[in-house]
Symmetry: none
Subunit: 291 residues, 2 copies
DNA sequence: AGTATGTCTTTCATTTATGAAAAACATAAC
DNA sequence: GTTATGTTTTTCATAAATGAAAGACATACT
């Protein structure tokens, strides 16, 4: 019986979990080619077929399923060891500051930003006003303006577009009134906009922008939202065209002192990739509603 | 936190077990150079020193010990998977876990438990503590207490008695000091007993109970041993009567999931008969010295 | 029907890991 | 003391594993 190295099991588990080579490869910072070869070697070593291959991915055979279940226990041990490892590291924290909607996007895609395996905690906080990275209150910020401060490093992620949204297939005669955030909380231009449309009445006023989404979905009226939020929500539809005057750029900003810290680089890079992968949605190009 | 590949743990385990690079390297068909580098990488990745290096070998640090113990469970899973792998080749594995002395008895009477004609392999491992039986993943265990776990089936085999033994016909004035296992390894009551006899001095301390027998036979002092061990050894004789406070029952335990497997039933039954046939010896009734 | 997207697989240059041998070093034996 | 043995560590040429890119092939979308 051939000797099988343990990382073969590790890779097998990843493929089984992700249902394919590409996902598993990304998760382990390997190429699909390598993962495919390793799985092949494992099957060869065990002498049974573990997966049925198709163009759409890998699916477990009965034998594969049996192995998969046994290896769960192995993974559990590793998770426990990971916990033990973190004890020493003093469990560092990465503080991420962003607006309501980027925070929302991150929460919806948290697995793309952070996993339990990471050796750090994620501390997300919402701030509508310009993120105050200056005083090192957060490690990574998302901003609507390019930073002038010399000690801040930034990466441009593209544009953010806005439009008005209302409940999809709303009954005729549904309120066309606007939903708004109270004037003293309306700092960003898109939140001030409803207050500047003199002739249209404002139906409901809330203190948190997040509530606008819930209200619009419930049919309370029209809300101005970033397109990547509105277009992603199957319960909403646009009213009119993009509000071009609200469009702005977006930057991911890090304090250049701490930028070298590995976990900060990691989160920053993942965040960048996440936003980039939604770039079209951010820019208001019409929806592909796959989240 | 760096990602650590599982084979790093595998290599760590090998080094810890063999106490050095060369042994571990041979066991895994690697070169000492490679093993050394991998261990270095692992320590780097974990951020703690795992071994103290010397020209004579590698010894675990406290951190290393902690990791070592956690990884035992990982190794257990692999052994189980190995068993599963062999099923394909027709040859399955029966894993038997028992204490030092039952294991010894089985080894002395291996032909009563297993022969080459049997279509399975026997995987025996020694464990003094009871708790490990649960996650060490063995098929058959021998315990000193009746299991409470509902998924374990058990058969009572009788009582086990203990007494002190020394070299037979020892020269007068031979050391009457006690032989003991180091206190941190002394889990079972009979191993703790020497440490609890305040007035008598302990002559030699070893880490493995098995060594007690060799020491006593060599005339190093008195050792507390199960009667079925001491009475069976022609080179030993009892000192005093049975130590009644150490007497306990004994159960053969099988996981009720796998209990139906034929080879497990077979081994379990043979083991039961073997122990039963030595029942008088186990119980401390005076020796019939036929092995 | 045709296009686009996402997957796996293959190929080949490159990077990485590895082993053999020598060196350095303790310990044990004499 | 001195030698011998067994260990770890270093060095460097070699072998093995890897990734990037291109190809092949289904599936989903328009």
């Amino acid at each position: 019986m051939k000797n099988i190295t343990w990382d073969a099991y590790q890779i097998f588990l990843a493929v089984a979990r992700h249902g394919g080579l590409t996902g598993a490869a990304q998760a382990h910072a390997l190429s699909p080619a390598t993962v495919g070869r390793r799985v092949l070697d494992l099957e060869q070593g065990i002498g049974r077929q573990l997966f049925v291959r198709s163009q759409t991915g890998y699916r477990l055979t009965a034998d594969g399923q049996a192995l998969f279940e046994q290896l769960q226990a192995m993974d559990a041990v590793v998770r426990k060891v990971d916990g033990w490892r973190q004890e020493a590291h003093g469990a560092s924290v990465v503080r991420l500051m962003a607006g309501t909607w980027v925070t929302w996007l991150v929460c919806e895609n948290i697995q793309a930003i952070w996993s339990e395996r990471d050796g750090f905690r994620l501390d997300m906080s919402v701030s509508e006003r310009r993120a105050t990275l200056a005083h090192r209150e957060s490690d990574i910020g998302v901003r609507a303006v390019a930073p002038e401060e010399p000690h801040l490093a930034s990466r441009h992620t593209g544009d953010v577009a806005y439009a008005a949204y209302r409940q999809r297939n709303a009954p005729a005669g549904l309120s066309s009134a606007l939903l708004a955030v109270s004037e003293e909380d309306a700092i960003s231009p898109y939140l001030r906009w409803p207050h500047e449309q003199g002739e249209v009445s404002i139906a409901v006023i809330v203190s948190r922008p997040r509530s606008l989404l819930d209200l619009a979905r419930a049919g309370a009226g029209q809300a101005v939202l970033p397109c990547f939020v509105g277009d992603l929500d199957p319960g909403l539809e646009r009213v009119g065209e993009e509000l071009k005057q609200l469009r702005h750029g977006q930057w991911i900003v890090t304090n250049s002192e701490d930028r070298h810290r590995r976990e900060i680089r990691t989160v920053s890079e993942r965040l960048f990739r996440l936003v980039k992968s939604h770039a079209d949605l951010f820019a208001g190009k019409r929806p592909s509603r796959s989240l």
